[in-house]
């Protein structure tokens, strides 16, 4: 049986009168990708920031890697990696220098060149961070979150604000981490991201977990219909899917400059 590396019981976080997290419980098993899915303001980031030792909890019990988050902050920080929301690094340092800098915050760290290879950024190794695209910056962020070879990696909305191509590039990097057996906590508000990457998805709304399970279980138990996302340069692909009962979700079509159309289609219309 898989070992629990994160245990959360009756976690509450208040900011004055505002209750951001309302008594949630969950466990994260070693080696799984655990996704927190929910809209902005649902409490996802507050929850992970408590697990990252950035925020204090109001009440409840939380342990990370078997260590109490109130008592063992220093030890926890040595064993986790974090890609914060809206990640940024030093503009006037190169990719390699940035990774090396964050590596030096830890007594043991992975060589920068190994991490550059991991996120496939060899060609950008000596490029200043400020000159990278949003997707490449996020890949640097993932490399930096891996710099101490952490037991758990927190990725807080790693693809928010990225174009579809950059988002897929980041997904490939996360899949690579998953293949290496890393435990990953992924917060997102993209359903398809959670479905594609996560072993367990917790859907959070207004500070509470309203559903939790594998993506398949959640779809079977909750979905009344299916949505597929298709990308094609040829209209015939969309026509074929339409013939088996799927209709385009209106106002969700996007076409890239190179002529690729991305369209969501649903069989519940």
């Amino acid at each position: 049986m898989a070992e629990s590396v994160i245990s959360v019981r009756k976690l509450v976080k208040r900011y004055g009168d505002l209750v951001a997290v309302r008594g949630i419980d969950f466990d994260v098993m070693r080696g799984e990708v655990f996704s927190m899915l929910g809209p902005n303001g649902a409490g996802k980031t507050t929850t992970v920031e408590i697990l990252e030792c950035l925020k204090s909890k109001t009440s409840g019990e939380v342990s990370v890697l078997g260590l109490d988050i109130d008592q063992r902050v220093r030890e926890i920080k040595k064993r986790i990696g974090v890609l914060p929301q809206d990640f940024n690094a030093f503009d006037l340092l190169t990719v390699k220098e940035n990774i090396e800098f964050f590596g030096k915050m830890f007594s043991d760290h992975i060589p920068a060149d190994d991490l550059i290879a991991l996120v496939d950024l060899e060609s950008k190794r000596d490029e200043y961070f400020k000159n990278l695209s949003g997707g490449l910056k996020q890949r640097v962020g993932v490399a930096i979150s891996m710099v101490n070879d952490p037991d758990i990696i927190f990725l807080d909305e790693p693809t928010t604000g990225l174009d579809p191509k950059a988002r897929r590039e980041v997904w490939e990097v996360i899949k690579g981490l998953k293949a290496k057996g890393k435990t990953i906590i992924l917060t997102t508000h993209y359903m398809e991201e959670a479905e594609l990457l996560a072993d367990t998805v917790a859907i959070i709304s207004k500070g509470k977990i309203i559903a939790m399970g594998s993506p398949v279980e959640l779809v079977e138990n909750n979905a009344k219909y299916q949505i597929v996302t298709l990308q094609s340069v040829d209209e015939i692909v969309f026509e074929t899917v339409r013939k088996i009962g799927f209709e385009p979700v209106l106002s969700d079509e996007k076409t890239s400059e190179s002529g690729w159309s991305t369209r969501k289609m649903c069989n519940g219309y």
């Binding site: 220093r74 986790i80 974090v82 914060p84 990640f87």
Partner: protein, 371 residues
């Protein structure tokens, strides 16, 4: 505290400023420009030569001798005004600040006084002046001094009270030598205050401090690297200022252990203030505005540019409450007067101030957000 972490942070900060050429240029250039501009202005004041317009209505030998005497005095460059001109209009039209009008009958009155001991004989010169000029007072004071000398000579008896100048210093110093310590203090204050506020608010806004706070780096590691970074910049800036002062103005200052000591205390004091401002000003712009609000009064009231004795009494009292005043006084005591006791007294005052604000700055620095 981990030296590896402090060293990495220091490297990043130095590389960032080195690669930002514009920042690097202005960091070094601003105090040097100040020294060159003010040094040139005030060095020429050591041999000041005022422009004076003289209208001679008497056109006599005595009046010509008087004008020549003013020229020989060396303080005035004389322009002669046509006796038919209206002196008030002349001041307005020619942009001069004072016209000295020598009255008609000067020579006659002088002869009556000298040869007939007619003590009722006198002459009244008129200063027609523009009150909006700041140099008018100085010119009139000099002219009054010259007139007092003439009156004294006419009286024919030696003065009872004589004066002689005795400097407290073994050798004569020029204005530039008093000015440079003030500019060093001012430049180090500006670097430390704005450097801390700008760098920290920018890193906070970009989320880099938040990312760092997920690593084992401590608040002390971060602050120590900040102090070292600001101290290195201050040393580079101070060295550049001194080199320019020696090369351009042949300044003669005493470089001793007090100089790095005051630079370090200055850095501690203003990095501490910067840390406090960074805590309370959330946006980079408001932090910079707050830093300006602190640095501007300090710049003009603490005696960096001119002696506080020139200011009204209440401003002098305020000046003595400003930390930069004690850095200025301490540096001048060490670099100009070589007065170790005075330097120590000022170092003690700024040291206590720096300790208090630095501790407050450490307490104000919020490392783990939301804690």
């Amino acid at each position: 505290m981990k030296l590896r972490v402090v060293g990495a942070n220091l490297f990043v900060k130095l590389m960032s400023v080195y690669r930002e050429k514009t920042t690097m240029f202005f960091t070094l250039a601003f105090p040097i420009i100040l020294i060159l501009v003010f040094g040139t202005i005030f060095m020429s004041q050591d041999n000041v030569n005022f422009h004076l317009a003289v209208q001679d209505l008497d056109q006599s030998k005595a009046s010509k001798d008087s004008i020549e005497a003013l020229e020989v005095n060396g303080k005035f460059k004389i322009t002669r005004v046509d006796p038919a001109a209206n002196p008030v209009q002349y001041v307005r039209d020619h942009g001069v600040t004072v016209v000295l009008v020598i009255p008609k009958g000067l020579e006659k009155s002088l002869q009556r006084r000298k040869f007939f001991n007619d003590y009722k004989a006198s002459a009244t010169v008129t200063y027609v002046y523009d009150p909006s000029s700041s140099s008018v007072g100085t010119k009139i004071d000099i002219l009054n001094g010259v007139l007092a000398g003439v009156n004294q000579e006419l009286a024919g008896i030696p003065p009872f009270i004589k004066s002689v100048k005795q400097s407290i210093l073994a050798r004569k110093y020029r204005f530039i030598e008093y000015f440079i310590p003030g500019i060093i203090a001012l430049a180090v204050m500006t670097l430390s205050l704005f450097g801390t506020v700008n760098v920290n608010t920018e890193l906070r806004q970009k989320g880099i401090i938040r990312k760092l706070s997920t690593t084992p780096i401590t608040r002390i590691d971060w602050i120590l690297s900040d102090i070292l970074y600001q101290f290195i910049l201050a040393v580079i800036s101070t060295t550049a200022m001194l080199l320019v002062s020696y090369a351009v103005f042949a300044a003669n200052l005493h470089i001793n252990a007090w100089l790095p000591a005051f630079v370090l205390l200055n850095v501690f004091a203003f990095v501490g203030i910067g840390m406090i401002l960074t805590r309370f000003a959330r946006e980079a712009q408001s932090a910079a505005a707050a830093a300006n609000a602190i640095s501007f009064p300090m710049m003009f009231l603490s005696g960096s540019f001119f002696p506080i004795e020139l200011m009204p009494g209440f401003l002098q009292t305020i000046a003595k409450m400003l930390p930069l005043y004690y850095v200025n006084e301490g540096l001048r005591a060490a670099m100009v007067f070589q007065d170790n006791l005075d330097a120590l007294r000022n170092a003690a005052i700024i040291g206590v101030f720096a300790s208090v604000v630095f501790i407050l700055g450490i307490l104000a620095t919020k490392w783990e957000e939301g804690k």
